[in-house]
Amino acid sequence: MEKDQVAITGGLIVIGGSSGSLDALLLMLPLLKKDFHTPVILVMHRNTTTGTALTELIASRTHLEVKEADEKDKLMPGWIYIAPPDYHLLVEEDGTLSLDISEKVNYCRPSIDVNFASAAVAFKEKLTAVLLSGANADGVEGMMRVKKYGGKNIVQDPQEAIVPFMPEQAVLSCEVDMITGAAGIAAILNEL
């Protein structure tokens, strides 16, 4: 299988969020620099009926290219991929994406844990995981995986998060490299 060298050598950012995370994202995304190069995957818990609305909303707030992820999509620099409703989104070692309709994990599909864990295996120390506001602990186990494989974890400051539970759990249970507000996260990502 041919590989996308740029994406593979360049690293990957995975962002997970649940309730309250949309605000943080809409603040963060416009702050990403013009020539932002690293592909970004967004895994958001949402109502399955919202369909393409989230993709359109995100696209309206960033100059990066945005698409709902399809299976076999090759991660490209400067693109944001959004996990489609009702599928888990996984990252393959060849830098492509896969969809999986298996059981919900902690009542979630897409599951942040599943996404982060697969991305950790595929991108190892070139992975940066970001966890935003939310009311459950999805993403925490994924972040443990990220660390096991040498990646970086960034967590939204629980004091800033609209629903602090999810970032709090991450801070309590896993090794976190940075705790900061949405604007701070954007600044860090710009430096990657």
């Binding site: 299988m1 299976e71 599928y87 990252v91 896969s98 969809l99 298996s102 295996v121």
Partner: protein
């Protein structure tokens, strides 16, 4: 932590030893399933698990049943079923005898949904629904026509959203935890074990449904399996895929036309 190489070796040896070839599966999902199996089995090492899988065929079949993803529901993707009901079933009605293949049918919810559509169009008596899967235990479940009563609310809602006009509960008898579907629906079904990676075409159909199965395959295997479907479809037959699947990258794409801009149903044009 399981190494990527360990997975590769396991899949290759399993193909050689047992004839089940998972080497064409996308790795991230199958790796996750194997990891779960490994942890549940409390093995001391990956090698110990592999040894047991290679030496005990019965245990290997159990492994196959555990690593396949069997999640399904009735009338999943209601707009898809609406399209089947309104646009495809009327075409099928013009044939003297209707043959349908559900490839990767899992526990059979999709097959029962199809049977209900056909029955309501008064076509079931002249139809035959072949339903195949690689996982024997889901096939056994499908044959019983018994589903958890707890899923009936969702099934019934899906049925109505997809255009169903009758009282869904007339299709089954509920007791305690189970809902047993009417024998008149399952009468026209044939369940059989069939492996899409290695088994060949076994009949010609007017409609093949293979939904949420090929998302687990790599591009090469997807191409190979769509060619198998092409061989198994009559001219002007229909091929239905899952919501996030497409024929666009398949070698057979040129001979197919999508029947609806949204729904994942293609018609063979030759």
């Amino acid at each position: 932590m399981i190494e990527t190489d360990e997975i590769e070796v396991l899949l290759e040896e399993a193909a050689a030893r047992h004839g089940y070839d998972f080497t064409g599966y996308a790795r991230a999902s199958i790796r996750r399933r194997i990891e779960t199996f490994y942890i549940k089995g409390r093995f001391r090492s990956f090698d110990e698990m592999k040894q047991r899988l290679m030496s005990e065929p019965g245990y290997f079949f159990h492994f196959v049943e555990e690593i396949t993803v069997n999640v399904t529901e009735m009338f999943r993707d209601t707009s898809f079923y609406k399209c089947l009901r309104q646009d495809i079933v009327p075409v099928l009605a013009t044939y003297p005898f209707i043959r349908i293949w559900h490839a990767g049918c899992s526990t059979g919810e999709e097959v029962y949904s199809m049977a209900i559509l056909l029955k309501e169009a008064n076509l079931l008596h002249k139809s035959i629904l072949y339903a195949t899967d690689i996982n024997q235990s889901v096939l056994e479940k499908a044959k019983t026509g018994i589903f958890p009563v707890s899923t009936m609310r969702l099934n019934s809602e899906n049925y109505i959203k997809s255009g169903g006009q009758f009282d869904f509960s007339t299709y089954y008898h509920a007791n305690y935890n189970n809902a047993k579907f009417d024998h008149s629906l399952s009468e026209r079904m044939i369940f059989a074990n069939h492996n899409l990676t290695s088994d060949s075409s076994f009949n010609e159909f007017q409609l093949i449904l293979c939904r949420n199965v090929m998302i687990y395959f790599n591009k090469e295997l997807q191409a190979k399996v769509t060619v198998l479907f092409d061989k198994s479809l009559e001219s002007l037959g229909f091929l239905a895929l899952g919501n996030k699947e497409t024929l666009r990258f398949s070698p057979i794409n040129n001979f197919y036309k999508q029947v609806d801009s949204k729904e994942k149903i293609w018609r063979k044009t030759r």
